[in-house]
């Protein structure tokens, strides 16, 4: 016969009555010292066990008995759902808890470093060119409405560069989608939009010393378009957001920091990876068109001087920056010669 002590909360008022619970065949007797109630054991529902939490027995009349006699309750009401049983089994074994932490760490690494980049590539490829073109147009529209002004370059100069650009992308896969667009933005910059439009600022055209240097910049952006980096980055970053929400959906306050900070580091890491990939593409593309990757190194040096970027970004920026450090990119360009 199993018997244990508990506290009865009758569900009518906020009272706490000590009771003795006893097994009597298929029945359970609950005695508060004066009155003994007899109930079928099957009519009482035990909650899922959690280590360190008192068990709660739900009585058919709405009353609840709270008790810390885990062994006795587990013997009388052994049946639970599979989820509760599995969780309890792991939670009560320290070695399993630490194995769980190791699995979590390995799992996060696997998703971040392998699964997401691997999955984002085919998904980005499956997006139809029309959708990409539309997204690119929308992005350009909102840029034009906010930070970009019409180019101040002469029509002849723009046409001349359009011609050179067309020759530069001739034979590329999807060459008909590549378009060059000039804008005035206040600082030297070039970037690729989804769909194949490459935006070059007037300041960038002014900053370069010769045609090869601008071609080097364009080759890098062509690399972004060919690799569908814009779409892949969006997909991978969204994947990280989903992963973090799934893991810590109820994160608030400081705990939120434990989610936000690594997300930021991972996302800038993805960005640096795509930049390095676009650089590699650029070096190969330049060589195919008879231009030395030295032009890339030269234009990086020039831009560095122009914008006053720090020479060595230091260890902090190496992990926070969205681009690899300029020194690193110049070194790789000169090695690719």
């Amino acid at each position: 016969m199993i018997a244990f002590d508990g506290i009865l909360h009758d569900g009518r008022t906020a009272t706490a009555v000590p009771v003795r619970v006893e097994e009597r065949g298929d029945d359970i007797a609950v005695c508060d010292g004066t009155v003994t109630a007899r109930l079928p054991r099957a009519a009482i529902v035990a909650d899922a066990p959690i280590p360190g939490v008192p068990r709660i027995l739900r009585l058919p009349d709405g009353g609840r008995i709270e008790s810390t006699e885990h062994a006795a309750i587990a013997a009388l009401w052994p049946e639970h759902g599979v989820v509760a049983r599995a969780a309890y089994a792991v939670e009560t074994r320290w070695w399993a808890v630490f194995a769980g932490i190791a699995i979590t760490a390995a799992g996060i690494w696997l998703v971040v470093a392998v699964a997401l980049p691997l999955a984002a590539d085919p998904v980005a490829r499956s997006i139809s060119p029309e959708v990409e073109l539309y997204l690119g147009k929308q992005a350009l529209k909102s840029l034009d409405a906010t930070v970009m002004k019409p180019s101040q370059l002469s029509a002849e100069e723009q046409e001349e560069w359009e011609g050179k650009f067309d020759a530069f992308v001739e034979g590329e896969k999807g060459e008909e989608n590549f378009v060059i667009a000039f804008r005035h933005a206040g600082r030297p910059n070039a970037f690729a939009l989804p769909g194949g439009t490459i935006v070059v600022t007037d300041e960038m055209v002014d900053a370069v010393d010769n045609d090869d240097e601008l071609l080097a910049v364009l080759a890098h952006e062509i690399g972004h378009v060919r690799g569908r980096h814009a779409m892949r980055l969006v997909l991978q970053n969204s994947g990280i957001a989903v992963l973090m929400t799934a893991l810590a959906g109820d994160a608030v306050g400081v705990t939120f920091l434990a989610v936000a900070l690594p997300s930021m580091l991972v996302q800038s890491g993805y960005s640096r990876q795509f930049e390095a990939e676009a650089d590699d593409y650029a070096f190969a593309h330049l060589k195919r068109h008879g231009v030395s990757p030295q032009a890339f190194a030269n234009v990086m040096r020039r831009l560095e001087k122009e914008t006053g970027d720090a020479k060595d970004d230091g260890p902090v920026m190496r992990y926070l920056g969205t681009h690899p450090s300029s020194a690193e990119r110049i070194r790789r360009a000169e090695e690719a010669r």
Binding site: I7, H9, D10, G11, R12, T13, A14, T15, A16, A48, I50, P51, G52, V53, P54, I56, G62, G63, R64, E66, V83, A86, A87, V90, E91, T92, W94, V97, G100, I101, I103, T104, G107, I108, V111, L135, Q138, A139, S142, P194, V234, S238, A241, V242, T245, A246, L247, A248, G249, D250, G253, V254, T255, L257, A258, L261, P262, G314
Partner: protein, 348 residues
């Protein structure tokens, strides 16, 4: 002479008895199984974590009870994921879609507040007497959207008043069993709190600009053309520190004002959070969480719960056992009338 007829005033402190070692295991298993089940288990994990924290938050010898169904939480998570996923994805390319999503979220705010308050209240119990939230969407819309609009029209000057009305709405519409809460709050305390917070931020800004100025003079005097990165990072660190202190101050002040204004039957809450305690807790929490790559999160949760419990008590003349559970209409109103739409935990 003292009034001898008055019942003696008794103080019932809250006590938190949870231990980091126990909570750590529940937390770690929740994290691992959430990852392995692609997030589905996170709802079950949340219930287990909450049940631990509730059970160890004790008043007059009895713990609280969290009764939410994981499935309802999972539904809420999916809704929140769709909403925020929509905002995040659309934000990359389509600004107008993002604006539309944010407007939708704004319009949904009263529903979200009512649904989550109701869900949390009716899944929280003490000694088998269940809490309830009776606020309606119409009331929430009046407070959040109507009074919120007044804040915008008044260029933010009405914000302390808005916060007081919001806190009052949330407190007043709660019930413990059959006993409704009443709110005893004045705008004055809220105005003082936000004014002081504002002045602290201004003061920090002035001090920091002065610091940058002095730094620039010192470095240029030393003949160096490039400012040291210290003078770049130091003001940022100082700004975050100032923000943390102001945040802790507001958490303590507004938390106390809200809790001290909450009255349930013959009892009154008394909250004595201190800004300097919270500032220290937040700062050490941040350091611990970063230094342990997140493993300190359960320790942080337990120590915050312990501190908050230590600073909270209920004071009153009647015994705690006098509270009755809701019966009849009051007990069923929350269950059936509003239907499934409310049985989700959309906590944002």
């Amino acid at each position: 002479m003292a009034d001898t007829n008055a019942a003696p005033l008794s103080i019932h402190p809250f006590i938190f008895t949870g231990r980091t070692a126990d909570y750590f295991r529940i937390w770690a298993v929740s994290l691992c199984l959430s990852l392995l089940t692609l997030g589905v288990y996170s709802a079950w994990g949340k219930v287990r974590k909450r049940r631990y924290l509730y059970a160890h938050t004790r008043l007059d010898g009895s713990g609280f009870d969290y009764r939410a169904s994981p499935v309802a939480i999972l539904k809420g998570r999916i809704i929140a994921l769709l909403l925020f996923g929509g905002i995040a994805l659309s934000g990359h390319f389509l600004w107008f879609a993002q604006v539309a999503f944010i407007l939708l979220l704004l319009l949904l705010a009263p529903w979200i507040v009512v649904a989550s308050s109701r869900f949390n209240a009716r899944n929280s119990a003490w000694r088998n007497v269940v809490f309830a939230f009776d606020g309606t969407i119409r009331e929430a819309a009046k407070v959040l959207l109507g009074f919120g609009a007044i804040v915008i029209v008044s260029l933010g000057l009405g914000y302390p008043w808005f916060r007081m009305r919001r806190a009052r709405f949330i407190v007043e519409r709660h019930r413990f069993g059959a006993t409704p809460f009443t709110a005893d709050m004045e705008t004055g305390g809220f105005i003082v709190a936000y004014l002081l917070a504002f002045l602290m931020m201004i003061g920090a800004g002035v001090l920091m600009s002065a610091g940058i100025g002095i730094g620039a003079v010192v470095t240029s005097g030393a003949g160096s053309s490039k400012p040291s990165p210290v003078f770049f990072f130091l003001p940022i660190a100082a700004l975050y520190a100032a923000y943390l202190v102001v945040f802790a101050y507001l958490q303590a002040r507004i938390g106390n004002l809200t809790m001290n204004g909450a009255i349930v039957g013959p009892l009154r809450c008394r909250s004595t959070l201190r800004a300097r305690d919270l500032a220290w807790l937040y700062l050490s929490n941040i350091v611990a969480v970063i230094a342990t790559a997140g493993l300190a999160v359960p320790w942080v949760t337990v120590r915050m719960a312990r501190y908050r419990a230590r600073k909270l008590c209920v004071v009153g003349t009647a015994p705690l056992t006098s509270f009755a559970a809701a019966t009849g209409a009051a007990a069923t109103a929350t269950g059936s009338e509003v239907g499934d739409l409310f049985n989700v935990d959309v906590s944002l």
